[in-house]
Amino acid sequence: MTESLVVFIALNAIFAFSFYAVLVAGQLSLGQAGFAAVGGFTAAALAPEPRDAGELPTLLLAIVVGMVVGALAAVVLGLPTMHLRGVFLAIATLGFAEAVRILLINAEWTGGANGMSVPKIVTPAIAWVCLALVAYWFWRQGPSSYGRALAAIREDELAARAMGIDVGRHRLSAFVTAGAVAGLYGVLWAFYVRLLAPEDFAFGTAIDGLVMAVVGGSTTWLGPLLGSGFLTAVPEVQRALGVEAGWVRPFVASLLLLLVIVFLPGGLGSLIPRVRVRVPKDGAGAEGGGRLVERPRTAEGEAVVRVRGGNKDYGGVHAVRDVDLDVASGEVVGLIGPNGAGKTTLVNMISGVVPPSSGSFEVLGTTPGRTAVHKVAQAGVSRTFQHSKLFPRLSALENVLVGAHVVSRPTFLRRLLWLPGARRDEQDVVAHAARCLDRVGLADRAGEDASSLSYGDQRRLEIARALASGPSLLILDEPAAGMNHVEADSLSELIGSLAREGLTILLIEHNVGMVMKTCDRIVVLNFGEVIATGTPAEIIEDPAVIEAYLGGDDAGPARETEEVR
């Protein structure tokens, strides 16, 4: 085991962490080689001579410069590209990295292809200390409210928005973290290998970093280290085993890569058991929650939703037409109508998920459509989706914790410093989430992955998640769909008890019995228009409603485009 191998494992792991930083938020970026390059080159150019300043101060200064420059580059690249997703983001960032490389090759001060000579300062100890700090950062980040928000964005961006998470800001901050960490890598690399050449930050370097991060796995903070250890050591091990130099080595290395990816979903990190948030023993019952963020409450009778002339066109199809709707605080309003009547589109517009084509929408002082989804959610709107949009790879409890995002205090920075307040806040939020789970009867399922729950349990989990934010307006989109009688009955009891607590509820439901039982007022939609409004008793007598329903579900236009997928 040579010194350089020890150093390269640490350096590669740091580079892999810069990919991990965005992978945890579900972003695929290949720009890290570019960040590392600008960070490394700027730092090497600006750093003083170690003779004058001493080795360690020189390196520290270079690290600061490199990380700041890397982070700035990430901001510059991030602002125009944050709206891109998946492969598009990967290619845009790749284009950036290539552009950086070409600029560096053509610049005078970098020495072109011949590179820049840099004093060697980094030792194995320095490299591993830096790695430890980076790893520590991500270890503390994971279970913080910030880390959970990133995981939620990775799992389902829209649902994350609807939970009040500012997706743009979170994605950008993940990106900037990646930039800073990549900048650190660039500096360490420069001050270890003695010669800094643009070549060191080519496409292949970015791919190597991504491969290490993915092979290591993005579900545990140890992943990048595992990935780096594995991929950096493979050539060494082959050499030590006496595998002949030549084609066999890259072949075996590629084969191992393929095997790990195919047979170890989640990468090497999946071999390590995942630590999950647990409910404290006395959690569910205990009083507390005093440390949760207070949310404004609406006064009884105050207008919560006010829609005037709401319209939504989908390429000429009017999903919603001239709808007026008022919901006052404390009311339970049922929204019914045949399939394709525009119910879901209407609540999508009310929660800000879909912008209206025209009309005025006012919800809790926000104007959905113009106000960002997460701001509408922060104002107190919480919802479930017609087709469950849970965070499948998070546990039931973690799902609810994400739901509690807007009421939990940020804990990441305090977690970094091990401040006791962070722990208390975490416990309070967990206890609060556990109470929400208990309320829907899922207390004993807290540790299970959302994706492994039964359909009915998933629907209830979504309600728990929506409740966790302590909303003023709760929108339930067909919560009883797929439930059996017993489940539906307990659901309608739950809704009743929520209403008694003064929560405003907007309920879409096909189970007319349930709507009749729970709602104060019912609005009936057909072909995107309101055809009737009134108390349950009035609605049941209304000829237009009878016509719409007897005219048949089938007559409704099959406009499933309105569904939230």
């Binding site: 191998l5 072109g112 060697k120 010669l195 085993l241 030549g246 191992l256």
Partner: protein, 391 residues
């Protein structure tokens, strides 16, 4: 079944990581200890009991693999030849740096543990990154293909048998100018490669010194193979010659495409063009290409003729300059070992400084006070499908 496979893959991966941590030390017991590497006698009569451990780091895979492969052939052929001599035997270990500086550094560090001298690496950038390790460990290095400035300035254990661009190119420009009466040229080079970029700088300087006008300087990437846009641009300038600092990968497509586009003026290249593939793969198009280089493949010297024949016999193909310089490298090391009749690193280092007027396939070869090589460079022109000396 799926779980079993998972387990297998998992344990395999872990085992690899573990062996990586545990292994490595295995090769640590140095062959350099004891007095076995110090022999008796001197020069041809020198006898050393143990084989002298020689390490070589070349790029056998990755982007520079074709050069590394040539070097491997040259080194192995030389080792075979040297084994025929009495007294001193060599244990040659050739390692691959995969054209990756990380692996170059690691391999160098590995080899400094049990090798008395290291040959390589293939690329100049890797040389700057890896050779200081040997310098610090006190193991002499003989570079066999690095042409960049400052390689040997890294320390007193760093030598090379490859001529720098500055030793080859000015002469090439001078001869070519005289021969073709050059007045104005277009220069092309790949600007993302250290070898070709440093070659370009020397070309540029030499052309200015000779008073040849540079109409335009065009750059390409070493991965490029389609040069038509650049060549069309060059053709529009109506130059007397096109001067190219590029590697053989670029040379073949560049030369053939130039002729297709009707550029019939001479094309002048550097060390990178000194490769028999230029003629075999470019055919007619290669005619009239001028190559300034460190190795005269057409030399009538006995050593060179024997080298060509041996190489042809062993590998069924012709050697290029990389092979010739690698081949010479082993013989230079042999001369250095025999000079003090010792295979100890420090003695080899001292021996290398004394090399003077050694007869090699590159010609009469000396190592100067800067630890750089000195021998006759050559300017060749392709005629009837083979290199002919132009000077």
């Amino acid at each position: 079944m799926n779980t079993t496979l998972k387990m297998l893959a998992g344990t395999g991966a872990l085992a690899l990581v573990l062996t990586a941590c545990g292994g490595g030390d295995g090769g640590g017991d140095s062959g350099g200890d004891g007095g076995e590497l110090v022999g008796s006698g001197s020069g041809d009569s020198c006898t050393i009991d143990s084989p002298v451990p020689v390490g070589a780091v070349v790029s056998l895979t990755g982007a520079a693999a074709s050069y590394g492969e040539s070097q491997r052939k040259g080194l192995e052929l030389a080792a075979e030849k040297l084994a025929e001599n009495e007294g001193v035997t060599y244990d040659l270990k050739i390692e691959d740096d995969a054209t990756d500086p990380k692996q170059g550094i690691t391999v160098f560090e590995d080899l400094t543990k049990d090798r008395s001298v290291i040959i390589g690496p293939t690329l100049s950038n890797t040389a700057f990154q890896a050779q200081p390790i040997a310098q610090e460990a006190g193991v002499p290095v003989l570079a066999i293909s690095n042409t960049a400035d400052g390689i040997t300035a890294q320390g007193d254990y760093i030598f090379r048998d490859s001529l720098t661009e500055a030793q080859v190119i000015p002469q090439t420009v001078e001869v070519a100018k005289e021969h073709f009466g050059l007045e104005k040229v277009v220069v092309m080079y790949s600007n993302d490669d250290a070898f070709t970029e440093s070659g370009y700088k020397v070309f540029d300087q030499a052309l200015q010194d000779q008073g040849v006008e540079i109409l335009d300087t065009l750059t390409f990437s070493k991965a490029d193979t389609d040069f038509r846009a650049l060549l069309t641009e060059a053709k529009g300038q109506d130059p007397d010659a096109v001067v190219v600092s590029g590697l053989i990968e670029a040379a073949i497509p560049l030369v053939t495409q130039a002729r297709e586009l009707g550029i019939d003026v001479p094309i002048i290249g550097g060390n990178g063009f000194n490769n028999p593939k230029l003629m075999s793969d470019s055919g007619e198009a290669a005619e009239g290409v001028v190559v300034g280089a460190a190795w005269n493949s057409a030399s009538e010297g006995d050593l060179n003729k024997a080298f060509l024949a041996d190489f042809e016999e062993k590998y069924d193909g012709q050697p290029d300059q990389f092979a010739a310089q690698a081949y010479t490298g082993m013989f230079v090391v042999d001369a250095a070992v025999r000079a003090n009749c010792s295979g100890e690193p420090d003695d080899i280092r001292d021996g290398l400084t004394t090399i003077k007027d050694l007869d090699t396939v590159l010609g009469t070869f000396s190592i100067n006070a800067d630890r750089d090589a000195e021998h006759q460079a050559v300017v060749q022109i392709v005629e009837d499908g083979s290199f002919k000396p132009l000077n």
